[in-house]
């Protein structure tokens, strides 16, 4: 746990592994009579952050705020609409992921892998566990035959599954075991960077703890960098070195985990932290209940996207869009009033006895 105790350590003095700037991904949607008018869902609408080697960078936010879409752009499962993604590959060269064609992408894809959100639908039910996990080795012509089998068996052991189960189909496994299969599939190519999309959200609390421990062990063993997408802030506090908060397609705050949780600078982050139910009846928190629903990314509000729900909003917030800007010590925030507000972090939200 030394790694989470010193959240900024992995970043110190190192070049970023990934530099994401103003990333955008719009989906066209048809609306109106006969679907004639076309508008756009701005699923990701200006996301900027760096990821340093060896760290766990978490991306949090409400359902539909664009986390999965952003994650898919990072591994180039989606082609971004705009912005840039610079990635430092294993040879130390910086490549522009956003502009690479398919052929030049192939070697990079080995180094960037994704663990998918849903352990129940992301595994092909007609493939055996061996075919599922071994498939990337075959696609990249790395191993075949008995060598492939050995590598799959070895990987299964690493993620805590018995190699004897190799010929079984996914339905014969529990949710936690399926998530391990998904992890094994992502790691079989020895990637540098793993985007874990809600890797534990669908799991029972006890299984969740096993998978979180496993992800940490594997990170140490294989020198992995994680982009950890999640909406559970207790899980994120436990696993991440740094955290970025998204709201309706935009990054609104980024900071080291401790700093963000104890000293949030964006009103939305404050509301999110206050809403997490504490598993202790003596710490019944004072939740900040946000009025209204999350805005529709096809029709975002004017100015600061959070202004219709923000308890601190001023006139300017409805007209002027705040930019993400540094406010010291690796802390970035997109709020006009960041310096003037005295927001409550997790320590202040809990009444002390």
């Amino acid at each position: 746990m030394a790694d989470t105790a010193t959240p900024s350590a992995p970043a110190a003095g190192k070049e970023p592994l990934l530099r994401v700037e103003d990333l955008r991904k719009y989906f066209p949607i048809r609306q109106g009579f006969f679907g004639r008018s076309v508008t756009q869902v701005r699923a990701v609408d200006g996301v900027t952050f760096d990821v340093f080697p060896g760290e766990t960078m978490a991306v949090v936010g409400e359902s539909g705020c664009g986390k999965t879409t952003a994650g898919r752009c990072l591994v180039r499962a989606f082609e971004p609409t705009g912005g840039s993604i610079l990635y430092r590959n294993r040879d130390g060269d910086e490549v522009a992921l956003d502009t690479l064609d398919n052929k030049s992408l192939k070697p990079v894809r080995r180094e960037l892998r994704m663990i998918f959100q849903d352990p129940f639908s992301s595994l092909n039910p007609r493939m055996t566990v061996m075919d599922i996990i071994g498939d990337p080795l075959r696609v990249h012509s790395i191993a075949s035959g008995s060598e492939l089998e050995d590598r799959v068996a070895d990987m299964l052991l690493r993620v805590g599954l018995r190699p004897e189960y190799m010929r079984r189909y996914p339905h014969a496994f529990s949710g936690g075991q399926r998530q391990r299969i998904g992890i094994a599939k992502a790691l079989i190519l020895s990637p540098q960077l793993v985007v874990a999309d809600e890797a534990v959200s669908a799991l029972d609390v006890s299984v969740q703890a096993q998978i979180l421990n496993l992800l940490q062990d594997l990170q140490a063993e294989f020198d992995l960098t994680y982009v950890f997408i999640a909406h559970d802030l207790s899980v994120v506090e436990y696993i991440a070195n740094r955290v970025s908060v998204m709201y309706v397609g935009k990054m609104v705050e980024t900071a080291a985990t401790d700093e963000l949780y104890h000293n949030p600078k964006h009103p939305y982050t404050e509301a999110l932290l206050s809403a997490v139910p504490r598993p202790d009846p003596r710490e019944r928190s004072q939740r900040i209940v946000l009025e209204g629903d999350v805005p529709d990314p096809a029709h975002p509000p004017s100015g600061c996207y959070f202004h219709p729900r923000c308890r601190y909003a001023q006139d300017m917030c409805a007209t002027e869009t705040p930019e993400l800007r540094p406010i010291g010590e690796g802390h970035e925030v997109a709020c006009h009033l960041a310096e003037d507000l005295d927001l409550r972090g997790i320590t202040d939200l809990v009444p002390r006895d």
Binding site: E62, S174, V205, S206, V207, S234, V235, E237, E283, V294
Partner: protein, 342 residues
């Protein structure tokens, strides 16, 4: 909270004893609920927790006699006390009797784990709500409409007159959940059974719904049976907690005792396995050993013994523990706490 004393029969709204609900399948019998006892005091919130598959939903379905074939209530009583001497054993009623239909939706409202169980995509929100209201209340269409709109307003749906004519697919997840709560509450039930009412929602939407349930409880005085595996939600909402494992109640106590002085090894392990906000530097998470056994291969003796770190070797594998009462409001099913008086 003093009204949860087990002897104070008058304050008990629902009294479940020895409930067994089994599923008879070709592969064998699943003892989904295998001897469950607990009581729900009037006007309070009681939490039912436990890992996936431990029988929380089947317990809820049993209370309304909505268990689907091949499932069946095998034994036990579910006594609902609607006031005074008005007691009825739901388990003894015919599953499609008029009396039971009146209880469902009128005395007991339910929010189902699968939203689609209770909301049809084919009909408008308003149509479904007025149908439900007119089934239980002797009112004209107009009156039912007013009542429905009033409930939509009460659960915080903006522009309820317009939402009345909306189809469920036109609403966001959080709004659909509110509509379900509005429907469950439209007949002023004495008990609301809420099966994972916020699990599919964001923390911020969840906060809205929890706040709403607390407000409505204060306003209407109903009891809530809150089923969830989220211990955070339980700590925030409940006054009493029932912990289930493989179809049995393994521990029951007031919420403070469950979180600060749990006595069953399973409750202790469950609490140790969760990440807690503000405690991330206290070391690795401590998962419960192994995993929930598959329902056809129930362990002998204490069903928790293969995962228990405090196992009494030689006894726990063979002896099935009885319930011991540690104090009037605290019961536990574990051989470490065997009741000396039997």
């Amino acid at each position: 909270m003093s009204n949860s004393n087990h002897n104070a029969g008058a304050d008990i709204l629902l009294d479940i004893r020895g409930l067994k609900t089994y599923f008879h399948l070709d592969e064998g019998t699943v003892r989904a609920v295998d001897g469950v006892d607990f009581t729900v005091p009037r006007g309070t919130t009681i939490g039912i927790v436990g890992e996936s598959g431990c029988g929380k939903s089947v317990t809820a379905f049993s209370i309304l006699q909505l268990v689907e074939k091949p499932g069946r209530i095998e034994e036990g009583s579910i006594v609902l006390n609607t006031g005074g001497q008005n007691r009825v054993d739901i388990a003894a009623l015919d599953h499609d009797s008029e009396e039971l239909r009146q209880i469902r939706g009128k005395d007991i409202g339910m929010i189902f784990q699968e939203p689609m169980t209770s909301l049809s995509m084919m009909y408008t929100v308003g149509f479904q709500m007025t149908e439900a209201i007119r089934l239980h209340m002797d009112v004209e269409k107009d009156e039912a409409r007013d009542r429905a709109i009033e409930m939509l307003q009460a659960v915080g749906i903006p522009r309820p007159e317009q939402r009345f004519d909306a189809y469920p697919f036109e609403l966001s997840g959080g709004m659909r959940q509110r509509v379900m709560i509005a429907m469950a509450l439209s007949c002023d039930p004495m008990l609301l059974i809420a099966d994972e009412p916020t699990t599919a929602l964001d923390v911020t939407t969840q906060a809205q719904i929890l706040e709403l349930m607390q407000q409505l409880q204060e306003e209407f005085g109903m009891a809530i049976m809150l089923i969830t595996h989220d211990l955070g939600v339980v700590a925030e909402m409940c006054s009493e907690v029932v912990v289930m494992y493989l179809g049995e109640v393994v521990e029951q106590a007031d919420v403070d005792t469950i979180f600060h002085n749990p006595q069953h090894p399973y409750t202790q392990a469950l609490l140790e396995s969760i990440p807690r906000l503000g405690h991330s530097h206290e070391g690795r998470l401590n998962p419960i050993l192994g995993s929930v056994p598959d329902p056809y291969h129930r362990p002998s003796g204490c069903p928790f013994h293969p995962r228990c770190t405090q196992i009494i070797t030689g006894r726990c594998e063979t002896v099935h523990p009885e319930i011991s009462r540690l104090d009037p409001r605290h019961t536990v099913r574990c051989l470490l706490h065997e009741d000396p008086h039997g």
